[in-house]
């Protein structure tokens, strides 16, 4: 009787506290089996190529014959070659069109409607997101038609008597880069709107009432209440769109191929050409390392600067 109760007392806490072998969790070699399939593919086709790219960036290599170690020379030429600098400059211009403009448009729109209840929100969200789900090649084909000499933009210009402005928008040295950039603005503005509208709907309406009692007008209200509350959403939008802007290969390849001349050449395109057309593999690898670091630094800075205080 006493023995039985004692053993019960001894057993009960042992099971719940898990002082012996825990029921689940802890370490076992068999756990590696669960990770193995995924991590093997990931290591082989993501991490290892990354290491190799970093190694290639120190070589002078055409991809076929014997490679030669050249130290930092490829990086020096990335940072001193005027052509390369111009191309990275185009990348920064793309950030304005792909990231800054869509975020500003989204904020402007959200400022107009923070205080109303939106009807059919689900439908608007679905439609505004459409540009995000279309294949970039399809987007490029659509916009090539819109920008074409006999396309809708020039048709409208002719209609309103501005024939002098009509042109092949993607083939003109003055307008090609802007035209490509505006495609990016179109792709991303809906994403920003949907993110910001979602964020604004979560703002406590009492904050607006308080601001009004303090005599704030619509503009002050936006800067005092809406903008600070949207920090998280702005950060997400910028991280996505800046990455998008710097990885802009598909749209350029399928609209202008970097032309006319080199006026729409962007970093990704330069890397592709170096690696697979002119076979300057070391230089292309160095450029892709620089591009990757640029993306990491920019997205890191954005998240840090816009981190919400709470």
């Amino acid at each position: 009787m006493t023995l039985a109760s004692q053993s019960q007392n001894n057993n009960a806490p042992r099971q719940t506290s898990g002082s012996a072998e825990p029921a689940i969790g802890g370490f076992a070699w068999r756990h590696l089996l669960y990770l193995a399939p995924g991590l093997a593919v990931y290591a082989l086709f993501c991490l290892w190529p990354l290491v190799q790219t970093a190694y290639f960036s120190f070589l002078s290599w055409d991809g076929i014959t014997q490679a030669r170690w050249v130290g930092l020379r490829n990086y020096v030429s990335v940072f001193t070659n005027t052509q390369t600098l111009t191309v990275f400059g185009h990348g920064l211009i793309m950030i304005v069109f792909y990231a800054v403009l869509p975020v500003l448009i989204g904020l402007l729109i959200v400022a107009i409607m923070t205080r109303i209840r939106i009807r059919l929100l689900a439908m608007f969200r679905t439609v505004l997101f459409l540009p995000q789900i279309l294949a970039t090649v399809v987007v490029a084909v659509a916009w090539r038609w819109i920008y074409a000499y006999d396309g809708p933009i020039n048709a409208v210009l002719n209609l309103v008597g501005l024939e002098s402005l009509t042109r092949a928008w993607l083939g003109d040295f003055d307008t090609a880069l802007i035209s490509v950039g505006l495609i990016g603005t179109w792709i991303n503005f809906g994403l920003c709107m949907v993110l910001f509208i979602g964020g604004a709907q979560k703002i406590d309406t009492q904050l607006y009432e308080a601001a009004r009692l303090d005599g704030a007008n619509a503009v002050q209200e936006f800067f005092a209440v809406t903008l600070p509350a949207l920090r998280g959403e702005i950060s997400i939008a910028l991280v996505l769109t800046v990455t998008n802007a710097l990885r802009n290969f598909d749209i350029v390849w399928n609209t202008t191929s970097g032309g006319p001349g080199t006026s729409t050449l962007v970093p990704s395109y330069l890397i592709y050409e170096g690696a697979f057309v002119t076979r300057n593999v070391g230089f292309a690898a160095a450029a892709s390392v620089v591009l990757t670091i640029l993306i990491l630094v920019l997205t890191g800075a954005i998240t840090r600067l816009l981190r919400s205080r709470d």
Partner: protein, 269 residues
């Protein structure tokens, strides 16, 4: 609190935004439906679609796209459920290290691995095969997928696994009978997202399957088809673009909830 003027202005802006978002695709669709120069048809016609389908080989490339996308989705989902389970529920000892490794892949652009991938597949003779597109995309989808599943599993009550373990269920049984069925909804949302990315992938397809029409995916075929503008009428190219976009657009409208939550949650992560 809301004034009538504000309601009207707000919705007017939304409608304009929606029209701008819709216009390019609608415009291309209408262009595809109008007769090409030299055609006998008047009014709307489907002959551009027939032309694109037969001349562009889109029956082949749409099938290739579907094969690649479903393979990537299936393989990634299985690998991510296994890895997510061991990382969150079984609390794998070096999980912080594994998460840190996966974090790298979350932000890695294709440009950073395209050259070695090309070398690897050309050395192994797998260039211009389905493998060349499937394996790298499983690898690049895996970080997001693993974080997704680990995050989902960790939100489930721990008592689930403990109760099952007390009943004598092994770790794999617990995954198979409890966690995997419960995670199906998260897997579906995730699959939509990965399907979308894989279907639309262009750069990897361009570099890794450039010369074999038999395995090329739909976006790549469209790009080559549209590049021959001198021999192909713009109306037929427009029809080809609609053909390539349509499967995703239909899936998107049918499963819009999953896509929306996937895209928004994917963004947050």
């Amino acid at each position: 609190m809301e004034s009538r003027k504000e309601v009207i202005a707000g919705h007017a802006v939304l409608i304009i935004g929606a029209l701008v978002a819709l216009y390019p695709f609608v415009s291309v669709a209408l262009h595809a439906l109008s007769p090409a120069p030299g055609s006998a048809a008047t009014g709307w016609t489907l002959e551009n679609f027939i032309g694109a389908w037969t001349r562009g080989g889109f029956s082949r490339s749409l099938w290739n796209s579907a094969l690649v996308a479903f393979s990537v989705v299936g393989a990634t989902a299985v690998a991510a459920v296994l890895a997510g389970y061991v990382l969150s529920v079984l609390k794998f000892r070096w999980r912080v290290f594994v998460f840190a490794l996966l974090m790298i892949g979350l932000v890695l652009p294709s440009e950073a691995r395209i050259i070695p991938l090309y070398n690897f597949f050309s050395a192994t003779g797998l260039l211009n095969s389905y493998w060349a597109l499937i394996l790298p995309q499983v690898a690049s989808s895996l970080p997001l997928a693993t974080f997704w599943m680990a995050n989902y599993f960790s939100q489930l009550p721990e008592s689930l696994a403990e109760a099952a373990a007390l009943d004598g269920a092994g770790e794999f049984d617990i995954l198979r009978h409890i966690y995997a069925p419960l995670g199906m909804s998260a897997v579906m949302t995730l699959s939509c997202l990965i399907f979308l990315y894989t279907w639309n992938e262009f750069m990897l397809a361009l570099v890794l399957m450039p010369d074999n029409v038999a395995v090329q995916t739909a976006p790549l075929s469209l790009s080559f088809f549209a590049g021959n503008e001198r021999t192909t009428e713009p109306e037929v190219i427009a029809a080809a673009a609609v053909l390539v976009a349509l499967p995703v657009v239909i899936a998107y409208f049918l499963l819009q909830r999953r896509f929306m939550s996937g895209l928004l949650e994917g963004a947050v992560k």
